[in-house]
Amino acid sequence: MTTRMHLTRRELLQAFAALGGASLLPGRVLAQSGTLVAATFPGTWNEAQRTVLKPAFEKATGASVTQSIILGTDQVSRLVAAKGKVPPFDVAIFDSPQVLDAVQQGLIAEYPVAKSAHFKDLLPPFQDKWGPKISMQVIGIAYNPKKIKTPPKQWSDLWDPKYKGRVGLTALNSQLGIAFLAELNRVRGGTDENFDPAFKALRELLPSVGAIAANLGAYATLWQQEQIDIAPYNFNFVQTLKGKGVPVEFVVPESGAAGWDTSLHIVANTANAELAFKYIDLSIDPAVQAAMMKPPYDVIPTNGKVKLDGAITQTLARTPADLGKIRGFDWAKLNPQRGALIERFNREIRT
């Protein structure tokens, strides 16, 4: 090299100081020119939103979106921690119970329903002024068709002695765990104030239980390793595992399907409210929802204009009206009990 850059030590130091200073700037400040940060759930949701919603959003707005994979309860605690400051993400994704908490604590903004092109097309139960329901998650019985030739019909089949040692459960820290317990309680005649019937049923089930996973990741591994053959599970998780070649099928018990909604929300005090709105509105666009309904995602659509198709029609609902019949839970009553239920469950299951 003939021309060398001559840097004195002082210049070098200044350059480094500038670099260092830049790296100290919060990432969010730098990212605010046309970048949206959207929270998403691990697993099916993250994959479906990355492959379908993200490209659609970037094409429609020219802005980019960064997905941040966080569980619903963690999103609530992070937003609480960031109150009064720049929120760590602009779009929140919640299951029904967290929506109540978030509204109560003022973490999300009202959805500009009047501006929305698709909100009015949502089926009535999915229209929520705090943010549209973008899908439903339904629980039922999953089983391994290689080991169990006659599909189970009802929840009580889990108690059948022939499945001894092969029944799986998941701990109560997941939405699936708490929903199963609540549904079990209802089937056994309990009320939201009295969970004794559920815990009595659980005690009777324990001798048959081969494994209780500490979290949903470990739960999926149990199916992959064929450690359990029959267990309560979530429709979409089963579809995802099936897509990976795991032998697992899903049935809705005769007592009916039960589930909860999943929704997107504009985070309160975000500087990107407009982009957040566009992102959310696209997620209820019939074209986007139809694409997400394809396997392996099989995400249940909430827009009435989407024609139901695929695995959903075979197991859950033939018509959009059927979706409305899927029973929900009274989260306003269940939420305050969550801590106590987890504690009681842990005591009951301990070996």
Binding site: A171, I212, Q225
Partner: protein, 276 residues
């Protein structure tokens, strides 16, 4: 300029105070808070822990788990270290590499591969079934036996390395002298090698014990939700039940219990110092 050697430890000491002592103080103060955060200091969290057999049994189960896994590590680790110490230099490096190998992979990866090995359809059960040793798959995953097996493998290097260090420092003449005086191999091992190796054994036991009882990933993935040990218990109280003060109190109790066990082991090891 004359530097007092003590001053050289200042940077490390500062780091320790800022990132270890200070958070520990925060933890201790938090453990005295109430769940509602009323600002009043109370020992309610501690009385809650000691007044409930459920919590106490989790603590004792955890300490027992550590004792059992440490003993397994010792029983299998001592012969390995003995073999290493005696092997030729070339073989020694191969053996040491094999011993250290487990710590070179992530604990999550190691634990997941153990799920594949221990499962109902796992390698171990396939072999047992294939050889006709058992008719039904043996339940290993989600049992304490399984947890102990995995912990023993995962933490083995922590036992082997300190024992190996002391064994290779023992003067070989001492063994020869013992034999020349008519003692057999076992008697030599019992009366000469073991007492001299005791500081290494105690160090290995302390390291293995501390690592086993705090192994959150291995305990939860292999043990499942039904075997609750202290790390999972703390996690559930903090994240699941959102009761940070109680989680802090459990942490403090757990830490003191561990320190007591370590102090006992240390006291035991000191009895052998006269040989050194």
């Amino acid at each position: 300029m004359k530097v007092n050697p003590a001053q050289l430890t200042l940077p490390l000491a500062a780091l320790f105070v800022a990132f270890f002592v200070a958070p520990l103080c925060v933890l201790a103060v938090l453990s005295l808070a109430t769940e509602q955060g009323s600002g009043v200091l109370t020992i309610a969290n501690y009385t809650k822990f000691f007044g409930d057999r459920y919590h106490l049994s989790i603590l004792s189960d955890t300490l027992w788990l550590g004792v059992k896994a440490t003993l397994v590590c010792l029983v299998f680790g001592f012969p390995i270290a003995w073999l290493c110490a005696r092997a030729h230099a070339r073989w020694q490096s191969v053996l040491i590499f094999l011993v250290v190998l487990p710590i070179l992979t992530s604990v999550v990866v190691r634990t997941f591969s153990w799920i594949v090995i221990l499962g109902r359809q796992g390698v171990l059960n396939q072999v047992l079934l294939g050889l006709g040793i058992v008719d039904e798959p043996v339940k290993l995953l989600f049992t304490e036996t399984g947890v102990i097996m995995v912990l023993a493998q995962v933490q083995m290097p922590l036992m082997v390395l300190p024992v190996l260090t002391v064994l290779s420092r023992i003067d070989p003449n001492l063994g020869d002298a013992s034999r020349a005086l008519g003692a057999g191999e076992w008697r030599t091992l019992w009366r000469i090698t073991l007492p001299l190796a005791m500081p290494g054994i105690v160090a290995g036991c302390i390291l293995t014990f501390a690592a086993c009882i705090t192994a959150f990933v291995t305990q939860t993935l292999i043990g499942g939700a039904r075997l609750i040990y202290m790390p999972l218990h703390i996690y559930q109280q903090a994240v699941g039940a959102n009761n940070w003060p109680f989680a802090a109190a459990i942490s403090v109790i757990f830490m003191i219990a561990v320190l007591l066990v370590v102090a006992m082991l240390n006291g035991f090891g000191r009895r052998f110092e006269r040989y050194a």
